[in-house]
Each structure stands twice: as structure tokens, then as C-alpha cells.
């Protein structure tokens, strides 16, 4: 089937601009070349580094096993791109098809891919955030600064927020034999992502590894000494703690501010796009030449009632980038939908945690294999009588089976006999997710309704 003339021209000599030079941006660029795009390709990134991998930053890099500059992403093929690194995109003019950059220049495009991702949510008090010893962890530079400080052997590290990143940092501190306190507003670590039942196991892991875990408290203030160095943290329960290092791990914020006024349906929840990764404008109409992929995207998913999902997952960035790139240079009938089943992993306290599906949509959970007490198990999550997610602690090899259960809308609780099904795994219990309007942290799945132009986010407390 012949391509129409304009698409053929785009593939041959068009200009594709990718904003965001991280995992999604790089994989999209590679896919474009793999699928025969021979025109000009420009990659714009606000960091000065070539694309690198983030998962190791909170694990091997913090442990000092891998130098921070050894995290570059492997290249699958030469992409022959123009790189604009260390320059943030600051605006988008869709009518003129032009991206404005922080250095005052601009780049015109025929097709645009937005993959600007997320950044870590900063400590809300700017003065306190500026204290020497207060860190966040999202970028290479963040990791370099933090690992340098951990290597110096601080007397105590405070981790604020026990989502996945916070828990992984606490795990690294214990492996480095550093005293660590974790402060979590919720009733248990990982509770926003995995619910209270599994959160309880995460809490046990922290206790067993010597973490001073404090749940149900908020850090109300960070106090510096005369030289501007962090020395103490104050808690909502009135307690105070001496600490030289505090890592703020309160989740992420989507990098969409630069799109303000562009007319795209972009807001704090991300940029809405259709299943084919085409961005919606604020009228709810898809833009023909603007595509979205990775953490910054929110797109409708058929497995979850066509609600829009935002996924801060490594695998989603790869899969969505490949679909977006394919669709950017394919005619309508050859385009593909992004139907990826949410999937992520974490490594902490010697345990490999993996999750498939959307646990935080669930109302019930059942331990279908293994045992919570042994910290080795597979938990299936149910929503209105069907399997909606599964989480494994050191049992990742079963996850594919549960993924198929989710994809086939299999009944919940699982009725079958399986290996290692224990008496405790015969009865489902409430999954124990906190109020969804409370912001959570960590590789996050956010289900955000049916409207592409919904830009409201209500945080509790405000």
C-alpha cells in the first residue's frame, strides 16, 4: 500500500524534534531510524548528559558499586541526531510548529514528540530545601551529590517519604551501615502503591534491617545551623531528630509548565494523549503533529475502563516511545495503540519486588502463593470480582501468569489450585489503600478519569 505523498516526504526529509533526551526520547529516536525515517532528527534535553538510566541511581550508584557516569543507556543503533543538550524547552507554538529553548533560540518541527518526564517534588519550604544536606534524587547530578555525602559517613540520614525511591534509599543506607530514619505520612511504606496489607510487610522489612521507621507522622520543619547546614528535623508528633542528611522522596511532578498557553491538554497530571500517543489539545481534539510518551503522558487504557493512566514506569517509557515513534511516521491504518500492561520493579532490603497491573485500583487482595510472614509471596489484587493487579516479593517468575489473568479479566479471588498456595491464601482481605486524593510517592500509577482535558488535581491536605 503506497504512502501518501506528504507522509513519504516526512519520512524521507522531514524534521522530527524530540523534547526530552532520556529513556523515552532515546528509544523513540532509535525506533524512528529503525523504521526508516531518514530526515533530520533533533533531541532536546535540559540535562547536559547523553541519555542515561535512572533505576540504578537509587540502587547500585548510591551503593557505590557503579560510578554515576557509567549509567549511560545502551544504544541499539546509531541515530544520527542533532543533540541540543543542557538546554530546556521553554515554550511551544503549535501554529508555527516551533519549540522555544531556554537559550533564546527555537527549533521548528514537522512532527514533535514530547517526552519531558517528571522531576522530583521538592521540599515545599524553599529556605529549608536550600540547607546543605537536603537532597532529592532524580538525576545523575542528584545521585552524585548524595553518594558523595553518604560516603562521608553522616551520623544519621533522614528519608522523608517511604514510597519506592525513599525505601530504596533507606535500604542503601542500611547496606552502608548508616543509621537511617524514615518518616512516612501514611500508615506503612509503599502503602500508596501496594496498599496496607503489603505495606505491612514492607514495614517489617525496614524494621528487620534496622531502619528507624516512623509512620503516621509528617516532617514539619528542617532546621539548619549557623552555617546553613542541616542539623535537625521536626515531626508532627512533636519529636525532633538530629540528622546531617535529609533526602526528600515525596514523589514527582510532571514537567508540563513549559507548555502553559500552548493549547495542549497539559497540566499537573501530565499531557493527555490518545491510545496512539497523539496529544489532545484543550478542546479534546487530537493534534496531528504532536505526540507524547513516557512519564509525562496520560493515555486511556482499555483494561481499566478506558480511564486515563499516568505511569512512571521504565517499561512504559520504552513501550510507549516505540508506539509513538512508529505512529509518527505511519499512515492511519498502520498505527498501533499503546496497550502496555503496567509493570514495575524495585530492589530493597534484599528483596526483589515486582508489580503488574494497577494495584491501587483494587478493593481486595489475596496471597495466592507463598506467605506474607516469610516475605516471599505473590499477592493478587481484585476489583469488583476480577484480577486487576499482582505483586511479587522474590517470586517474580510467576508474574507473567498473573499478567495474563489481568488481561483476560480472570475472576477474583483466583479459584484454582496452585503450587505453594497456603491456607492464608484462601481468603481475600481489604487491600487497604489510603484515600486516593492523598498524593503518594514512587513509581506511580495514577488513574485519572475519562476526560482528556481534565486538569484538576486536588491534594489533601491542600
Amino acid at each position: 500500500m503506497a504512502l501518501d505523498g506528504s507522509l513519504e516526504r516526512l519520512r524521507r526529509e522531514g524534521h522530527i524534534v524530540v523534547v526530552g533526551a532520556s529513556l523515552a526520547g532515546l528509544r523513540a529516536a532509535e525506533t524512528l531510524r529503525e523504521e526508516g525515517f531518514t530526515g533530520t532528527l533533533t533531541l532536546i534535553g535540559d540535562e547536559p548528559y547523553e541519555p542515561y538510566d535512572r533505576p540504578p541511581l537509587s540502587k547500585q550508584v548510591l551503593l557505590g558499586r557503579v560510578p554515576v557516569d557509567h549509567t549511560a543507556l545502551p544504544r541499539r543503533l546509531a541515530i544520527d541526531a542533532r543533540w541540543r543538550l543542557g538546554v530546556a524547552a521553554t515554550g511551544l507554538d503549535m501554529a508555527a510548529k516551533r519549540v522555544a529553548l531556554a537559550d533564546g533560540t527555537s527549533v521548528e518541527y514537522d512532527r514533535l514528540l514530547i517526552a519531558t518526564g517528571v522531576r522530583s517534588r521538592p521540599w515545599p519550604n524553599e529556605l529549608e530545601a536550600g540547607l546543605d544536606g537536603v537532597f532529592t534524587l532524580r538525576t545523575r547530578d542528584d545521585a552524585a551529590r548524595l553518594v558523595h555525602r553518604l560516603r562521608a559517613g553522616p551520623r544519621r540520614v533522614l528519608v522523608i517519604g517511604a514510597g519506592f525511591t525513599g525505601s530504596e534509599i533507606a535500604s542503601v543506607c542500611r547496606e552502608r551501615e548508616l543509621p537511617v530514619t524514615v518518616a512516612e505520612r501514611g500508615p506503612a511504606p509503599l502503602v500508596g502503591a501496594l496498599g496496607g496489607v503489603i505495606g505491612e510487610v514492607a514495614a517489617e522489612l525496614q524494621h528487620e534491617h534496622g531502619v528507624d521507621l516512623r509512620c503516621g507522622v509528617m516532617v514539619t520543619g528542617l532546621e539548619g545551623d549557623g552555617a546553613g547546614r542541616l542539623r535537625r528535623a521536626h515531626f508532627s508528633d512533636g519529636d525532633a531528630l538530629e540528622a546531617e542528611v535529609a533526602v526528600v522522596a515525596l514523589g514527582a511532578t510532571r514537567n508540563t509548565e513549559w507548555l502553559a498557553g500552548s493549547g495542549l491538554a497539559a497540566g499537573p497530571r501530565g499531557i493527555a494523549c490518545d491510545a496512539g500517543c497523539r496529544a489532545f489539545d484543550i478542546r479534546g481534539i487530537v493534534a496531528d503533529d504532536v505526540f507524547v510518551a513516557g512519564d509525562v503522558a496520560r493515555s486511556p487504557h482499555p483494561l481499566f475502563g478506558y480511564q486515563f493512566l499516568s505511569l512512571e514506569h521504565w517499561g512504559n517509557a520504552v513501550a510507549q516511545a516505540e508506539v509513538a515513534a512508529h505512529n509518527m511516521i505511519s499512515p492511519g491504518e498502520r498505527r498501533r495503540p499503546h496497550l502496555w500492561t503496567p509493570y514495575f520493579w524495585s530492589a530493597q532490603f534484599g528483596v526483589n519486588i515486582k508489580s503488574v497491573g494497577v494495584p491501587n485500583m483494587a478493593d481486595q487482595v489475596i496471597v495466592s502463593q507463598g506467605s506474607l510472614g516469610e516475605h516471599r509471596f505473590t499477592a493478587a489484587y481484585g476489583y469488583q470480582g476480577r484480577v486487576i493487579a499482582a505483586v511479587t516479593f522474590d517470586q517474580a517468575k510467576w508474574l507473567e501468569f498473573y499478567q495474563r489473568q489481568i488481561e483476560q479479566a480472570a475472576p477474583f479471588p483466583p479459584p484454582f489450585t496452585a503450587v505453594d498456595r497456603r491456607p492464608e491464601g484462601m481468603r481475600p482481605v481489604p487491600a487497604g489503600f489510603p484515600d486516593p486524593s492523598v498524593p503518594t510517592h514512587g513509581p506511580e500509577v495514577t488513574v485519572s478519569g475519562h476526560s482528556p482535558t481534565d486538569q484538576r488535581v486536588t491534594f489533601t491536605p491542600a
Binding site: G350, S368, Q369, G370, S371, E374, R376, T378, Q395, K397, W398, E400, F401, R404, F416, T417, A418, V419, D420, R421
Partner: protein, 412 residues
């Protein structure tokens, strides 16, 4: 339905040289109950799905006695090895082995064998000097992995020959029985005797290493106190060490023999490898797909009814998965019958998949990469003397019994 049992034909030694047309026939019905009794599963995605299905058990004790078709390699006087167990027992034993075999506790165990592997390869090839023909199986494939596994476990060099003999006999037990009832009985007796001798030998070695540990796996197992669970008992060690010995030995013999056979049938690939030794990495993966050393995974059991590919396999059925057929499934691999040394997207079943995924895979890869690269580099103008070569009886662990190769000279 087939009128002649396809499983019977697959097990028939006459079809050993080329079972692939039979697998293609089998794939016409992805899940089929064979006249022999078991359900055969031959297509990629169905095998993949069942290898990850917690309703499928590897524990033969779940199988009705009349449904059992093979003689176990396990000693009836010892507890089952972890390949024949389900979680949580399987997981505990596998974890305990991994503690002294691989990351995170012992990340260098396999890696540090590289130097030794390459000198074993060189020594064996040096012995080809002054000849113009070898039997690759006898002269190379057999002695090579048994030497490596002895080093890994910590078996002294002088005992390797005895080891080889026991391993050979015990491994035949995995074959479906053939011959008259008397022959079958004699076979069982021979296997039993070899198992006992091997166990007695290993007991002595474990005892020695417990008192004076060295840097080897037997010392690791003998001295490990476990983390949060009980360490391996002596019977468990005997059972699982026997398994590692057999599984680590017989399969590697076959991948090397199958590998050279395949390269000598595809001289363009052999020349490419000679010019570009880095080709060995994807090439070994393609070999594992094209001629997998483990052709069949017999005797798994369903713990519940399983609906798959339009068929319901009832609870308690005997399940035979055919990974060598899945590896040739055109629904998964384009041009599956073509040997493509640089094949992309090659997620084969050469090492199985799921919780029983081959524990020796990292070692087997190193062995195959080192052996084939060096054989190809040093043999001048190698060629097959006989094609197809004679095959061993075993249909599960399939490979040539002899592989005569003629050559013009030996490079340094």
C-alpha cells in the same frame, strides 16, 4: 487425530537425527493428548504460558503411578532434587544453591572459571596434533564439561574419570524405557548402582570439605548455615549435587556437538565466526534455539483444569512440553528452520523458562562460547565425515553419539 502416536515416533531412535518434521506435525494441534497418555504441548506461546503457570507442578508425586512414563534420575532413597519439586521446597533449595553459585552472594563463581575453561579447551585441542580426524564427542565434547563441573564443584582431578562413568549411566535414566521387561529391569539396576556409588563418593567429599573448606561449591554447600531457613541436609546435598552433575554435563556435551555439527552444515556461518569472533554471542543463542540440548520437558502435572488453545487439560494429567518444537514455531520465529547466527529477538527455550529455568545457563554459555570459538579458529578446513552422524538413544537430551570431523591441520 493421529493414528500412530507422535510421541512414539519422537522417541523412536530412527527419528533421532531429524525430529523437526515430527514437531511440525505436532504443532498442527498445539495441545494434543497422545495415545501414550500424556498431553503434548508443542507451540511457543502455549509452552511459554504453561512454564509460567502455577497450576502446573513438577512434582511427580502429584502424578498417578500409572501415568508415569519415565524412570526418575532421582535416587528413591534420597529426597527429590529441586528440579522435581515445587515451591516452597524448590525455592528453598534453589536459593541455597544460588548462595554458593551466583549473585548476589557469590557473583564471581562462574566468571572466575573463564581462564580455566579456556585452558581446558586449549589443552584438549592440542591433543588433536598429528591427526587428521577426530571424533569430537569422544575427544572433546565429553571430557570438556565434566572437567569444568568437577572444578566448579571441587572434585579432585584424579577422580574425574570415575565421575564421568557414573554421570553417563545415571543420565540414561531420564530416557523413556525401551526393550523387554528384563532389559528395563537391568537398566534400572545399573542406574541404581551408579547412583549409589556416586552418592557414597560425594558423601566422603562433603565430609572432607566440611572439615577443610576450599573455594568451591561443595565447600560452600557443606559450610552454609542458610540465611533465614534451614541449610541443606546431607541427603538433600547428595540429591541435588547429582542433579547438577548430570544436568551440567550431558547438556553441555550436546550443545558443543550439535554446535559443531550445525556449523559444519552451514559453512558460511563458520567462516563468519572465524572472521568475527564476537559473532559467537548471538550464534550460541541461535544454536540453543535451533538444536536445543534439552528437547522435551516430560512429566509435569496439572493441579487443576487448565484451558489452553481451545483444549481443557484435566487436573492430574501428565504434561510433556516440547521446547525444541516451540523453538521452531513460525508464529514466534520468522523462518524458524533457517540457522541465522545473528538472529534478533531470540528468546528461545534452550534453557527453559519460568522457575525451573536452567540454573547452569551462565556456565553453559561460557563453555559453548569458548569451545566453539576455539574449535573454529584452530581447525583448518574442518568437514563432516558422516552426515547425519549416529545419535545417542536419549530423546530428551538429544545429541550425536559420535561426530567424526576431518581437517587439514591445526593452527596454534
Amino acid at each position: 487425530m493421529t493414528s500412530v502416536s507422535l510421541l512414539g515416533q519422537i522417541l523412536d531412535h530412527a527419528n533421532r537425527a531429524d525430529p523437526y518434521p515430527l514437531y511440525a506435525e505436532l504443532r498442527r494441534t498445539p495441545v494434543v493428548r497422545d495415545e501414550f497418555g500424556p498431553y503434548l504441548v508443542s507451540t511457543y506461546w502455549e509452552i511459554h504460558s504453561l512454564l509460567h503457570d502455577p497450576r502446573v507442578s513438577s512434582d511427580v508425586r502429584h502424578l498417578a503411578p500409572e501415568a508415569r512414563t519415565t524412570v526418575s534420575t532421582d535416587d528413591p532413597d534420597l529426597p527429590p532434587s529441586f528440579i522435581r519439586l515445587d515451591p516452597p521446597d524448590h525455592d528453598r533449595l534453589r536459593r541455597l544453591i544460588m548462595r554458593t553459585y551466583g549473585p548476589p552472594h557469590t557473583p564471581r563463581r562462574v566468571y572466575d572459571l573463564r581462564g580455566e575453561i579456556s585452558s581446558i579447551v586449549s589443552d584438549l585441542i592440542d591433543r588433536f596434533q598429528g591427526r587428521d580426524r577426530i571424533d569430537l564427542v569422544e575427544d572433546f565434547s565429553y571430557p570438556f564439561p565434566v572437567t569444568v563441573i568437577c572444578r566448579l564443584l571441587g572434585v579432585p582431578h584424579e577422580d574425574e574419570q570415575r565421575f564421568h562413568g557414573w554421570a553417563d549411566t545415571v543420565a540414561t535414566a531420564i530416557e523413556p524405557p525401551v526393550g523387554t521387561p528384563e532389559e528395563r529391569q537391568a537398566h534400572r539396576e545399573a542406574v541404581r548402582e551408579a547412583r549409589h556409588q556416586l552418592a557414597a563418593y560425594l558423601s566422603g567429599l562433603i565430609d572432607q570439605r566440611r572439615r577443610a573448606p576450599r573455594d568451591d561449591m561443595i565447600s560452600g554447600l557443606a559450610t552454609d548455615r542458610g540465611a533465614d531457613e534451614s541449610p541443606m541436609s546431607l541427603p538433600e546435598m547428595l540429591s541435588n549435587l547429582t542433579l547438577l552433575l548430570i544436568a551440567g554435563h550431558e547438556t553441555t556435551v550436546n550443545i558443543i556437538s550439535n554446535g559443531m555439527l550445525t556449523l559444519l552444515r552451514h559453512l558460511d556461518a563458520l567462516e563468519r565466526l572465524r572472521a568475527d569472533p564476537d559473532l559467537i554471542f548471538p550464534l550460541v543463542e541461535e544454536l540453543l534455539r535451533f538444536e536445543p540440548p534439552v528437547q522435551l520437558l516430560p512429566e509435569r502435572t496439572t493441579l487443576d483444569d487448565i484451558e489452553i488453545a481451545g483444549t481443557t487439560i484435566p487436573k492430574g494429567a501428565s504434561l510433556w512440553l516440547v521446547p525444541a518444537s516451540g523453538n521452531r514455531d513460525p508464529q514466534r520465529f520468522p523462518e524458524p528452520d533457517r540457522f541465522r547466527p545473528d538472529r534478533p529477538d531470540n528468546q528461545h527455550f534452550g534453557f527453559g523458562s519460568g522457575i525451573h529455568n536452567c540454573i547452569g545457563a551462565p556456565l553453559a554459555r561460557l563453555e559453548a562460547q569458548a569451545a566453539l570459538t576455539e574449535l573454529v579458529r584452530r581447525l583448518d578446513n574442518p568437514r563432516l565425515v558422516e552426515d547425519p552422524p549416529p545419535y545417542r538413544r536419549n530423546a530428551v537430551l538429544r545429541g550425536p553419539r559420535h561426530l567424526a570431523i576431518a581437517y587439514d591441520g591445526l593452527k596454534r
